[in-house]
């Protein structure tokens, strides 16, 4: 193998590592916070002083580990009650799925569908999407970068909407405290579910979409 004499030692071998026309290929690092282009040899952004690297380091590993933790937390979030309603001393705990079933049995199909989508479909879809992105970025050869980037954007956008469940519990718990008549207590699943949302959002933020665009040139 004969490679042309490198003009700059730091720019050696970068051409086949990064996508054509990218800042990293040109020996520049794009700061994720302020978008200033700094020489790739620097450890800190020359403009805002944030720590930088051409690509988020160990992006896939960090994304995956946060994802697995959030998936493990998703289990207690569904098994344990998210809140307990107490009417005249009669306590009835309700889980997330229990809420959906309750609305279905009352014939309120629309509300049941809203809760089912927001608290079950969205978090699971988000986790599968992130897992798929990690898989595509590391193990697959021919990937549709444009579609995957779009998948990432959707995942990032819907991330915070899973908090709906936690806020609904927060409002109900604050509002329904009628002494001796009716009250609502938070359940342990609320903590678990808030953890799931927090971790999946962090996981999405840690995923660096630029590695998808770097892949194409490896033929």
């Amino acid at each position: 193998m004969v490679s042309p004499t490198p003009i700059d030692s730091s720019k050696e071998n970068t051409t086949d590592k990064y996508a054509q026309g990218s800042a990293a290929e040109a020996g520049l690092t794009n700061c994720r916070l302020c978008h200033h282009l700094t020489d790739s040899r620097e450890q800190h952004c020359q403009y805002c002083n944030a720590q930088i690297s051409p690509r988020v380091q160990r992006s896939v590993q960090i994304t995956l580990s946060l994802l697995i933790t959030s998936f493990l937390l998703y289990i207690p979030a569904n098994i344990y009650p998210i809140m307990t309603t107490e009417v005249l001393g009669d306590r009835s705990p309700s889980t997330i799925i229990g809420g959906v079933v309750l609305f279905l049995s009352h014939g309120s199909y629309f509300i049941a569908a809203v809760i089912f989508i927001a608290s079950i479909i969205v978090p699971l879809a988000k986790m599968f999407a992130l897992a798929w992105l990690c898989y595509a970025a590391t193990c697959r050869q021919n990937i549709d970068k444009y579609e995957l980037t779009r998948l990432y954007r959707i995942t990032e956008f819907i991330g915070k909407w899973s908090m709906v469940d936690v806020y609904v519990v927060a409002i109900l718990v604050a509002l329904i405290q009628l002494t001796g008549l009716m009250s609502i207590q938070v359940g342990i699943a609320a903590s678990a579910f808030a953890g799931v949302v927090l971790l999946t959002m962090l996981s999405a933020l840690m995923f660096d979409t630029r590695i998808l665009w770097d892949k194409a040139i490896k033929k």
Binding site: G21, S22, A23, A24, L28, C34, A118, A170, A174, L178
Partner: protein, 209 residues
Amino acid sequence: MAHSDDCQYNYACAECDLLIDMPAHIPHRTALVCPRCNHTLAVGHRNPKHHVVAVSITAIIVMVIALSFSFISFSANGQQRDINLFQASSELFAQGYYFVALLVLSFIIILPILYLLCLSLIIVNTQYKLHFISTHLLGRIASSILPWAMTEVFLISVLVALIKIVSMADVTLEISFWAYVIFATLFTYVASIVDSHRLWQWIAQGDKW
């Protein structure tokens, strides 16, 4: 902008890292998208600084109103209960769910206000050449907290909660709720004008003086 002079490109796409020559002027309400991955890089606006500072300060005042009055009132069997916005978090805290209480308080009240405050301070700082606080630090704070501000999500949650209980009691939306609706609208509006390209352009302008 304070970008490196040895390179003809002054910007790189955040999502695909493509080098881009950013135009100095973007037409009003026109989105500039990355030619490779379609990521929205910046959106043009005629007079963004005045807009943002005016709307941000209005939103902060509206938030003060939202925090001062009662949010929702609820009555059943002759008992009545009023709650304010803080109680959405403090009641969780009182029941020992500190982690959830902290998240709720941050996402719906603290971080949105902090974001608007940072923006206002950056604009005032760069416009009047004041240097009482580092605009670079403010910019980093503003850029980091934006994904965690959830005003609109909270608003939808209030409606979902109301649907759940409206059949068993009388529920009234009070002043604070409407103030929060206005706050969320203004916040979303500001966040749609201030893309991070523009934010850091302002900060760089401030450096020149």
